[in-house]
Each structure stands twice: as structure tokens, then as C-alpha cells.
Symmetry: C2
Subunit: 631 residues, 2 copies
């Protein structure tokens, strides 16, 4: 009898059309916990170095954790891990919804998918049984059409489906995986990996009850959450206004990414805010399994951009990426872009970025209408923006160029356009401006999957010492602009904590103190112990997070990444051109000193950024040294 | 209102005869917790580099923690920290009994004592008031006489007294501090520091009730302990047979230090065992505040070595140091030696060692009767052993030479006698044989205060993965003989955990899984939180332990210690001459590789062993880098 986890992982070879089930040892669960931990472990050990991310040797790992599916808010998420076609390195993304808990209910903690099918297939998992089914008729379909047909095919409207649309099929390098039509494993181009394997969807349905060791404890925390979450102002705001709840605060402080990161203020910001959405197109809230916060949006946008509420509403990242970044102040159009991304399985952050990049190239005369299939790619051109989304998903015209991301597009365009390609390791920047939150910059630089706002500390989360971060030994606040040793110290602590949340696949909104955290670090330990019957501690869990982080690093080192890849776009070292933070920039020397100190603090060689053997041995993963020594 | 701690530390300058009271900030409590943490913090910041340990600039710090005095077994201990006259480096020792909890009840978390009085004094602390009182009449008295007179002087038989006897007054470099006549802050020569300050005693009495945030939680753990501790076989054995409960197991496995560490087996071992003591001289158990285990012994030894039960019975360390190490199989004589040590304030471990050292020198012809004041210093000579204890305390004859410890004695004697001086950094070896428990050897080498069995992991504690160590992320057992990377890894984890127990001043017997641990790491976190109202975690507490360890290291670095001081006596690299482990030895190359790996794992320069700036900044003690940069 295992508590907290099923004890089974399914290996599916799409080339061989074979399925086998393995039972990871208890120590794998204890050392890796789940999610990112599982993904990094299997990916590093099993994907041969220098494999083509879009080739059959790459693995696509779906993983849940030892607390996934327990009836507590924020515990229904899952990780997908693979070698990223966008960065060529470690790729990872989490998604909420219901798929994670359903996968466990269907009898598996993880799926390890390799090979490539000759014809389109989908995987059908039901109560411990796994079947590969023909998806030829689904190929080319939007996520909504495909999901609907799969449910019809299986004669079960409650099947949970994680799938791709045309963007994934067309190997758009930042294609995502969509579940319930509105939740995305957004970053890293994982949808393209699915496309390369001709895997249209993973459909799951199960009736296994989550087996926890101490159901009373779980229930008590659940009840506590239900009774108290409204006392946390941030959680209420998020529930009321969604993730765009802080958009106006960013605008006012001059940190709203605008005009492809040229400035930090957008004249139409107010038209994009969570408050405006609530007053205009919002028709309801949506949420994840067991969560009363329901921070997700349901919208019905206005003419001429009507949207289908099934695709959900845009979150902050989509609003800023298609909005301020492209200088578009039309929330309906943005909702339409968001819908298209969900229908085609495109990552909204990268998609908004490539469009803003193209617009800046156009505005600088680097691209002309002859290059853009006649589109007038001015900042603010709503219809051009929407057309581009479509062209990218279908790799049509200039969309084909942009479908490979800003880094590759700039390389092809030349003419100095790289200056306008805002990415780290090839992955486009999220909608958080480092010139004013320096820790976010460091986070973008060292995130194993390239620029990602969900893998690292946001300075704001530690501005005030708080009861919620006390378990992390944090008794002082931080200066957002600083990159001094104290900032790097808290960055390291914060990174391990955020990384832990990806190992347990818990929602960061539930656990991060600013702005909306409700549960604390000790709640997490209690939940893991109540679920598993273990007697683990935050210390041990943080070690698991550190172990996973080091394996992601080892993966990238083996792929040939160096310290030079932990760099930031030049623009971030230049002054913000407008907004309240006008003139603000990152200091190159301080950034490099901070990067070096970060390596040194975390146990990596301060010159090369390669994990030291001593650190890997300390974490019990000394075997990894051989892998990177032969790189 | 503070919970868990008083919020007050007293500064006492014996030269100025001044007392001031300061209130450490909350962050000092959170970052250092107490005990070792407090001691290392104040000592490093306040004692000028290269100060004479026996001079007025040295500080003597008595410290309790945020859980000292709560009514839970094992929480009445306290730390004394000072620059050691034995090693010239960081010195520290803990003691049990009732003094620690009484000090807090008297209104202080810590005493920071500096300067030196011209005439003997004692410190009288009662309910927040501090007085320096004349001790001229007490000087030269045994601990029993002095304690009795102090209690008479203060007209209170319940005053708790920590004090020195003649050995401390005579600046024997391994003089200890005794409380209740039978509990010792044994190692590091702290009694000599008291002697140098002409401080005979610290007497405390208080009525402040321990203020805890969550008394129900404390009570629940207390009740749980009372109800369950007898289910832990090791705890029962320890209660029944005392700390010599494992002596015969050591004998059988060939690891009982014998004939000055020449071998690991003693023909009369059975005469020294806890079982034999119970059957012969034991008249009762004794224990610490709030502890039902009562592992300490009360004995009445037989003719011609009658002992006073008030001085307690010998623990394992005393039994082996005066027994097998000197090849003496007479438990009564050993009890007498133990009594003398407690009466004179001599550390039993160092005292037994210097006698065994002298005996080996005698047996090798390096010392002759002309050097020994006529004593025939053969191994096994009971009367010579007892006479030497007396001569050392009074610095009489050869006792004067031996009173400076084996390292200095060997330097004076010459003739190759250093080979027989078993010490690390000048402190004599405890009664745990590293040739068969290699982690103990590494522990001796890197302990900041020189060879010490209470600051580092014992291999046995991790032989079997256990529920109690699960919170330390330990899922595998260890090979006692190994010094490989996995051993060093667990050593690092174990060292931080043991070090944490010295920061909270908790009894290791209560928390270490082998052989007698009852409470686990998470109990400790619960107790700290219940006591203080904090929401700390094992992660944060382990960081505090790491912080303290690094400050002890910085202290030694500033004093000029180098990696070469983290060495072991040559004998440990030579074969054990007899016993079941005959032929066993430490491998020099493996030891040095392990030492280097240890440095690297813990964030110290692998070549020099100096804490890296990145590690100190990570721990929030970056200010310490300046101190060691100017060393």
C-alpha cells in the first residue's frame, strides 16, 4: 500500500507502439517528489546527449507529485518536461485545471513518452489501462474540435484531454499543450514535441481515489483554507480580478512591458486591467480542481472579436504580451488572440513577443510590407496582430519565420534585428520587467528553460518580511533594484522554494506570500506528510528541489550550454525609454557579479557555472558528474 | 511579550566589576537560536584576534536557547563558549542538569563575561538581579565544599551552581565547569578560563515561568514522550545501564579504546560495563530537569575507593578513559577518579588521556620513575592513576607537565612522545575509535573545538535508514568503514543536525536515532514553534546551525588555524594492534580526499578550508568575510 502516490509510471514508445508499466522505487519518490523532480531525473538519465528535440529520442514526460489530486486548492497541477525545441535545453512547463489529478486517478504518477508515430495517434488512459488510438481524423483540428471528437470517440464527456492544435502539429517552436481548452503547459515548446511525435492528445479518465495517510489532516487544512482564504487581500483581489489584478500597479510604477520592452508604461493600460475586464467582457470565474479562489477568467468578447467562453479569458501574461507589448489597448482583440492561441496551442507569451519583435523590426524599417505578406506591422495594429497569430500557427508567409521564435527569426532577418529579440536561451521574455525588479532578471538568466517568470523569485515576494517566508529564514526585506549579496542570497532561497512548488506541482498563487499566498511552507510539509505518511521536512524537500535544479543544470551543461547562455538581452542593460521608471536599467557589471555569486552560493563553479562534483555528491546524485564530465 | 526566550543577555565585566543588561534583537534569536549559535556569534564579534585565552580579553559565554527550560526531556542544557586555552581556538561545551533552565528562570538567556577580577569572586543571579560576591574564602576548595558554602552564604539550598575546583583555579588547560557536582561542561578547558578570571562560580536562582506560545502543544509532546519512550529499546537500555550501555558491544566489535588507543579490546571490559555497574556499585539513577530517562548514575564505590554519591557515577567516557585506555579494570577506582575530576573540575576525557599518554611514555622508556615523582606509571596501575589525577589538579610534580594536555606535554618531553599524544588541535580524543567508524575520525578532524564526540555524526547513527532521519533526506544506510562521497554527504547532514542540537541546547540522546533517540527532527521544529510562536522550519533551523558552524570556523581561521590543523593523530593511520578490529586503520589518502570533499560540500575552499565569501553571504553573515580577510 502506498499513500500519496500510485507507485506507477507508464512508458509509452510511440514508434514501437508499446506500453510498459514500471514501479519507481520509494527512494525515487522521496528524492524527487514529482513534477519537475521526476521530469529532470528521467530526462537527464534517458535522453541521449545532443538528441534532436523534435526527433524520436526525445522524451515527453508528464508528471504529477505525491500531493497531486488531494482535495486542497492548488494541487491539481502537473508538469511536462522535455528537451525544448525552442532552447535546445531543458524544457518544462506546468499547467492547472483537472488533468493532473485525473491522471493520478487513472492510475499513473507519470507518463514517459518517447519515439514517434508514423501516423497521428492519441493516448487513452483509463483506470490503469493504456491504449494508442488513431488520431488521423483529428490532425489539423483545433483543440476544441479535437477534444470534442475524442470525447465523442470515447463516449465520455468527462474525459480530460491534454492536446495540441495546428501550431503543435506544425512544429511551431513555442507551441504549447492545452487542457480543458484553457489551461496551458505554456513554455518550452512542448506542443511541438507532441507534434513531432504525431501525438495529438493524451486523454485520461480514472476512478482511483486519492489514498492519503492522514485524511483528517488533509481535511483540516482544506477547511482552514476555505474558512480563511478571504482574509488574504491578495487572494481576494486575484479571485475578483484575475491575474491582471496588478496590471495597473505595474503601469503606475513604470514596469508594464510596453512596445517590445522599450518602455514601462502604456497609455491604454487602464483598458487592459483586471478591473476593466470585470466591467466589460467578464462573464464568470473559472478555476482548478478543489480551489475556491477561481482566479481564471471566462469572457465573452465584443464584436468584431467575439470569443468562445470555452477557451477561457486572457491572463495577465496574454494581456500584456498582446496588449502593452504590442501597444494594443483592445481587450476584446486580446481575448481573441488568446482564444486563437488556445485553439492552435500557441504559447501566449512567446507569441506576443514575436509579434512585438516583428512590429519593432517593421517600425525600424528592418521589415517592410514586402516581407510581411502585405501586413502593416505597426505597433497597435490589432488586425495585423490577429492575422499573425493565425499565420504563425499555420507557418504561413512571415508566420513561418516567426514560428521559430525571436532568436532564430532575428538570425534569419539579420540587419541588427537581434537587438529587438528579447529572449534568454531562445525563450522569449515573460511580462515582468527586470529593470526595477532585478531579481527577476537574474531569474530569467539562470532559469534552466530560458526566460520564465514561474521558476524564480520575484523581488516583490520578499519586499516585506512576512510570516509566510519566516520558515525560509528570511527576516529582512529586499530592495527590488538591488543585485547585492543579500539579494542573491534571498534569490537562491526563493529559487529553491519556487522550484519545490514545481516538484510538488502546487500552484504558486497558493503558496507565494506576495500578493496572494494563503498557505505557508509548513502547510506544504504537513500536506506532504499527511498525504504520504512520511516524516519529511522542509529541509528535505528543499534538498529535493535543489537536486532537481542541479539535474536541469546538468542537462543543459551536457547539451553544451555555458555560462554565456545565462545572459540577458542587451536591451535590459539599456535605459527604459518611458514610464515612471524611465532611465532605469540593469548594471552589467553588477549583473555579472551577481551571476557569479549565485553560482558560487549554489555550489556551481563560479567561472563556468557547472555544478561542482561536491555539490552533486552532497545531493546524492554523484552519478551525474560522469555524465557532464563526458560532455 | 516574548515567548520562548527572555530577551535579555547580561554583560559582566569582572575587571570593571560592572554589569549591564542588553536586549538582543529578535533577529539574533531567529538567526542564532541560542547555545552554540549565540556563543559563536558573540565570541567571534567581540574577542579580539589573538587574545590570550587566559587573559582578560577572552569572553566566557553562558548561553541557553529558545527552548531551554520548557518541560520536555532534554531541554535543560546550556552551552559555555570561550576561546579555548587547550586549543587556542574556538572552545565550547554543553552540560545537562538544572542550571540551564534555572538561568532562564533567573531572567537571562545568556551571560557574556569578560575581564578578570583581582580577587576571587562569584556571580549571583537571582530573578533578574546580578551581584558579584567575594569568593576569597572559596578559592582552593573542591566543588562540593564551594557549592555548599555558596548555598549557605545565600541561604538557599536550591541555588544552582556552575563552578570550578582547584583544577580550574590552577589553570589546568582541560579544566571543566561543574554543576550540581556531577554535570560538566567538559571539554575545551572552560574551567581554566573561569580560573583565569578568578571566577569561582556562577550561582543562579529564579522564579520566572517559561513563557511559551502554545503550552498545549508542549504538554502534548511531553505526554507523548512520557507515554512512549519506553517503546524505544535504546532509551530503556540507556536508562537501565547508563551511557556505558554499549561498552560491551564496542569490546566485542574491537572498538573499545584500549592502552592509549593501541588496540580496541580490553580483557577486563566486562568489569567496566553498564551491566556490571548496575550489579555492583550502582545505587540509583540520576537525571536532568523534566527527563524520565535518567541516564546518569549514582554510585557508592567499594573499599578502598569509596565515593560520595553526590558526585555522581562515571559515564562511558570516564569509564573508558580511566578504564580501558589505562588498562584499569576496577570500576570503583574509576568511580573515584571520576569523583576527583568532578571535585577538582577536570575533564574526564582529557584527564584519562594524559594519564594513558604518560603510561605509554613510561612503558616505552621515554619517562622513567625519576620523571614521575617516583610513580610507577605502568598501564593498569590503579593507584598511580588516582595519584596523577590529584597531581594534575594541583599541578604538582609531573602533574604540572600533564596539566597542559598531551600536545604540550609531548612537546616538552620530546623523544618521539608526540606519537603517543592522541589529540586534534590540542584536545584529547574521546572514547570513540575512528578505525572502524571513519565518520567519527572526520568529525574529530573538523570539529571546531578539536576532537569532540558530541559535535559530529557517529557512523552508527546512520547505519540503518530510520524514520527518525527521514526528515534529513536520508534513505540509505552507511558503511562505517567508508569515507566515500556518500559518507561525507551524510556526515555534512549529520554535522548540521548535531550542531543544531547544540544551538537549541537539546540533549542528543533524546534526538539521535541510534541508540536511544526518541524524538525526531520534526518534534524539534514543533517545540521551537510551540515555544516561540514562530513558524520556523527544519530548513531554517539547519541554516542557523550552518551559520553557527561557519562562525566557529571563521573564529579559528582568524586565529591562524589552517587546513593542516584538521588532522588526525598518526596512530589512527596505523593498524589497531589488538581486538576484533586488529589491523584496521584509516587510509591517509582517503581521509584527505574526504576532508577536501567535506570542505567543498560545505562551502569552504577545498584547498584551504576557509569559508568562501559566497557561503558566508548566503548565510547572511557576509560581514564575517572582512574579519577573516584581515587575518
Amino acid at each position: 500500500m502506498t499513500y500519496g502516490y500510485v507507485g506507477k509510471a507508464a512508458r509509452i514508445d510511440l514508434g514501437e507502439r508499446s506500453v510498459s508499466i514500471e514501479e519507481p522505487s520509494e527512494s525515487v519518490y522521496k528524492n524527487y517528489i514529482g513534477g519537475r523532480g521526476f521530469g529532470a531525473f528521467y530526462l537527464f538519465r534517458e535522453v541521449p546527449p545532443k538528441s534532436d528535440p523534435l526527433g524520436p529520442d526525445n522524451e515527453l514526460i508528464f508528471a504529477t507529485s505525491v500531493i497531486t489530486g488531494i482535495p486542497i486548492p492548488g494541487m491539481s497541477r502537473f508538469s511536462v518536461v522535455s528537451k525544448s525545441p525552442l532552447t535546445g535545453g531543458y524544457g518544462e512547463a506546468e499547467a492547472g485545471g483537472f488533468f493532473g489529478s485525473e491522471l493520478k486517478a487513472a492510475g499513473f504518477d507519470a507518463l514517459i513518452i518517447k519515439g514517434a508515430s508514423e501516423t497521428p495517434v492519441y493516448i487513452w488512459i483509463q483506470d490503469g489501462k493504456i491504449e494508442l488510438r488513431d488520431a488521423s481524423a483529428l490532425w489539423g483540428k483545433t483543440t476544441k474540435e479535437a477534444q470534442s471528437e475524442i470525447r465523442k470517440d470515447l463516449d465520455d464527456p468527462l474525459v480530460r484531454v491534454a492536446l495540441i492544435g495546428p501550431a503543435g502539429e506544425n512544429l511551431v517552436r513555442y507551441a504549447c499543450i492545452i487542457n480543458e481548452l484553457r489551461n496551458a503547459n505554456g513554455r518550452s515548446g512542448l506542443g511541438a514535441v507532441m507534434g513531432s511525435k504525431r501525438l495529438k492528445a493524451v486523454a485520461v479518465r480514472g476512478h482511483r481515489k486519492a489514498e492519503v495517510k492522514d485524511p483528517e489532516k488533509v481535511m483540516a487544512i482544506s477547511k482552514w483554507f476555505a474558512a480563511h482564504w478571504k482574509e488574504f487581500p491578495g487572494a481576494v483581489t486575484r479571485s475578483t480580478y484575475g491575474t491582471a489584478d496588478g496590471l495597473m500597479a505595474l503601469e503606475i510604477s513604470g514596469l508594464l512591458p510596453t512596445r517590445n520592452f522599450q518602455g514601462g508604461s502604456f497609455s491604454k493600460a487602464e483598458d487592459l486591467s483586471g478591473e476593466t475586464m470585470k466591467d466589460t467582457i467578464l462573464i464568470g470565474n473559472d478555476g482548478c480542481y478543489a480551489c475556491p479562489v477561481r482566479c481564471k477568467r471566462k469572457v465573452a468578447a465584443h464584436e468584431p472579436y467575439e470569443t468562445d467562453p470555452l477557451y477561457g479569458g486572457p491572463e495577465y501574461e496574454a494581456i500584456a504580451a498582446f496588449g502593452s507589448l504590442c501597444e494594443i489597448g483592445n481587450l476584446s482583440a486580446i481575448s481573441k488572440a488568446n482564444e486563437l492561441c488556445n485553439a492552435y496551442s500557441l504559447d501566449v507569451i512567446s507569441t506576443g513577443n514575436v509579434i512585438a519583435f516583428a512590429m519593432e523590426c517593421y517600425s525600424k524599417g528592418i521589415l517592410a510590407q514586402k516581407d510581411t505578406d502585405g501586413l502593416e506591422l505597426s505597433f497597435g495594429n490589432v488586425d495585423a496582430m490577429l492575422q499573425l497569430v493565425d499565420m504563425i500557427a499555420c507557418r504561413r508567409g512571415i508566420g513561418n519565420l516567426l514560428a521559430d521564435g525571436v532568436k532564430r527569426a532575428a538570425q534569419k532577418i539579420g540587419k541588427g534585428s537581434s537587438r529587438f529579440a528579447l529572449h534568454v536561451k531562445g525563450q522569449e521574455l515573460p511580462m515582468h520587467e527586470p529593470r526595477g525588479k532585478a531579481g527577476v532578471g537574474l531569474g530569467y538568466a539562470v532559469s534552466p528553460s530560458g526566460a520564465d517568470h514561474l521558476q524564480n523569485m520575484h523581488d516583490g515576494a520578499f519586499i516585506k518580511p512576512s510570516k509566510s517566508v519566516e520558515p525560509l529564514a528570511i527576516t529582512e526585506g529586499v530592495d527590488p533594484d538591488s543585485l547585492d549579496a543579500d539579494k542573491v542570497r534571498l534569490f537562491v532561497y526563493g529559487q529553491l522554494w519556487w522550484g519545490l512548488l514545481d516538484c510538488v506541482d502546487a500552484c504558486k498563487f497558493i503558496f507565494i506570500p506576495h500578493p496572494a499566498g494563503v498557505l505557508g511552507t509548513n502547510h506544504l510539509v504537513e500536506l506532504v506528510n499527511a498525504s504520504t505518511g512520511w516524516e519529511t521536512s522542509l529541509w528535505s524537500l528543499m534538498k529535493a528541489s535543489e537536486r532537481a535544479l542541479n539535474l536541469t543544470r546538468c542537462f543543459n551543461v551536457r547539451e553544451g550550454f555555458t555560462s554565456a547562455d545565462d545572459s540577458l538581452p542587451e536591451r535590459l542593460f539599456e535605459e527604459l525609454s518611458f514610464g515612471a521608471k524611465k532611465g532605469s536599467k540593469l548594471d552589467r557589471e553588477k549583473f555579472h557579479a551577481a551571476l557569479r555569486l549565485y553560482y558560487d552560493m549554489i555550489g556551481w563553479d563560479p567561472d563556468t557555472g557547472i555544478p561542482k562534483a561536491a555539490k552533486l555528491y552532497e545531493l546524492g546524485i554523484g552519478w551525474a558528474t560522469q555524465e557532464i564530465a563526458t560532455a
